[in-house]
Assembly symmetry: C2
Homo-oligomer: 235 residues x 2
DNA sequence: TAGATTGTTAATCGATTAACAATC
DNA sequence: TAGATTGTTAATCGATTAACAATC
């Protein structure tokens, strides 16, 4: 079985974006779509779109474009979203609960079967119909159930230990929401969800925007900072 | 005031990673660090690190490297993290509460001053010492307090409306956690937090890994899928 | 001084974009 | 058929890497 190689990271980042767009076309009963259409909507070069789609192996029809449902399926298959994987979530705090409530995760190939916590007040409860079990049972259950994906939403100080328990239970891929970087064996796949980095990008863009407003939104160009104004207003 | 241009997106993504690493050096009282050290720890090319740091304008000492605290400060300044900005958060659900609990956000330039919700049961309460106010008051308060950053953690169906209220209140940058893409005036900065995309990447890597295990972890190469095994095990 | 590390210029590599022939 | 859109090859662009001189 020959496997795809040489697919760029950039392409991998764009493919999910196409799926997102295509689903909304599909919902509106659009049958076919051209690369130019996709490019126009996303502000991408149409040739780039074509190159990206080529990676999935799908072939389109000249003059017609791509059949929307087939295209969605082709990308999803390529991305491996159609093999839904069972996952364990460790840490049933606010963030954990938020993830447990996201029904859609299943559409992206992940089905959370249970949550784990060390807080006796939480153990035995259900959160959005997911059972919350004692963290002590996680390793054994992961082994027994052949769970491959672990989601870490515990506080930073417990993240490393939690990750090690997951690995011991046979988990192969970890989605890490804690702000610490995990030291794990090389064959474990780790996806760090660095909320901070993305926030960092936002505040940087804003700072730039304020300091250099070459836009027509009426902000003065002389360096006076509207940001600093009126600290008096109270809630 | 000349402003930095021509800084690549790639550099912008790496700078926060340097800060993260440098802080741990700083905590361990390391005084100076070289680009090679940084590169070794992060598996980056040392020349690339040097190029990235160059963007911030800092200059190092040959033979010695960079003074760690100064370097942290230089990057933070460049990224605009040191102008802490006040922010409003809309949607005090699980995810919103999780963000309200992240004390560290302030270290990345964002200080949440209030949360807003439409649920009367939540209004008037406090979450991690942040007041929860009626969503109806958001636009006016944003105007009065000159808030520039809005964080959206409301359900998808309310996201667009919420964003519009923010913009009306003078908010210039929106950190969007809802899974819908917002239609807003061009001068508004939007940072979409696409949890799904990153999850997508994880499950894709896992699928690849399982289908093509050219690693020494004992998984058979003939296509038999360990994933499918033992659906019998029960919690 | 000798040598490590910076700063900077040049070479390489890869991704994006452009051009165009093939096809329905 | 005519023309839009695919598929594919070539040109451009930009980022990464390598080389090396400057400096403490």
């Amino acid at each position: 079985m020959e496997y795809k190689n040489g697919i760029s990271e950039a392409t991998m980042r764009r493919l999910p974006i196409y799926v997102h767009l295509l689903r909304s076309y599909d919902e509106n009963k659009v049958e076919n779509i051209s690369c130019s259409d996709i490019g126009r909507h996303l502000n991408f070069d149409p040739t780039q779109v074509r190159k990206d789609l080529e990676a999935t192996g799908i072939i389109g029809k000249p003059r017609v474009g791509f059949h929307v449902p087939s295209l969605i399926l082709a990308i999803e298959d390529f991305l491996g979203w159609n093999n839904v994987n069972d996952a364990f979530l460790a840490g049933a705090g606010n963030l954990g609960a938020a993830l447990l409530g996201y029904e859609r995760l299943k559409r992206y190939g992940v089905h959370i079967v249970a949550a784990f916590d060390s807080d006796p007040a939480k153990i035995g409860r259900e959160i959005y119909s997911h059972p919350v079990l004692s963290i002590d049972r996680m390793t054994n259950l992961a082994k027994r159930m052949h769970i491959l994906i672990g989601i870490i939403t515990v506080p930073g100080e417990h993240a490393q230990k939690t990750a090690e328990m997951m690995v011991e239970g046979g988990i192969r891929a970890i989605w890490n929401f804690s702000p610490v970087s995990l030291s794990l064996p090389g064959h474990i796949i780790v996806q760090n969800e660095e909320l901070y980095y993305s926030l960092a990008a936002l505040s940087r863009k804003l700072a730039d925007h304020i300091n250099q407003p070459n836009l027509s939104d009426g902000v003065s160009k002389d360096g006076s900072n509207p940001n600093a104004a009126d600290p008096v207003a109270k809630i």
